[in-house]
Amino acid sequence: MKQKLRDFIKNWKWTPAKAGVVIGLGILGCYFFVDPMGMCVGCFIGQTLSWVEHSLTTNAVLFPGIPTVLQTTVIGMFAGALIGAVRAKEFHIRGGKPRFLLTSFLGGILISFGNFVAGGCPVRHGIVGLAGLAIESWIAFPAMIIGILLGVQLLRRLA
């Protein structure tokens, strides 16, 4: 029995389907305990930036020393990913071709622009919104899939 349990733990592999269950529960936990936006790196960093801007433009105290809920969640997410990478001995610093670095830079700008202008977040629309039957999400998520199809066509043309 003990050996069986040890084998089970040793052979456990996080496939996306198993991870999806944990991530669904995690987003639900974030929804109830942290912030009704669900779980989003972009949104949380955006809120942090607007908090800094608010501190700079008003007479509020800048950096009160206590990280907010959103900041600790984002820090925790990076820390968890780092722990996973180091434990699996996957952690190393990767270089890249200049073209790849440039496309990463432009893609990063595009995704944040879409996020802050229109809330284009696959977690917020694809999971929280679709499950919560929000009309905007039922419009936004098919539009996101159209965007992915356009990107796939572009990749096929380039390749």
């Binding site: 996306p16 198993k18 991870a19 936990g29 809920v69 925790g76 899939i145």
Partner: protein
């Protein structure tokens, strides 16, 4: 640090670890589905959506 911050940190660590180990990605799921006809990541998205929807429904009924 408030208890809320600790909960946020804990949820963040768990989700970061799990998504790093499994390569979970929603946009990547659709990219693999359309580009390579590969549903490996898409199962992860469906599992997350179903879990969220079911627990949401159950919790909503019992909270109301």
């Amino acid at each position: 640090m408030d208890s809320k911050q600790i909960i946020g940190l804990a949820i963040g660590v768990v989700m970061g670890y799990v998504s790093q180990r499994s390569r979970f990605c929603i946009q990547g799921a659709f990219r693999d589905l359309f580009l390579f006809k590969n549903n490996y990541l898409f199962k992860g998205y469906l599992a997350a959506l179903l879990t969220f929807a079911l627990v949401w429904l159950f919790g909503y009924r019992h909270a109301a």
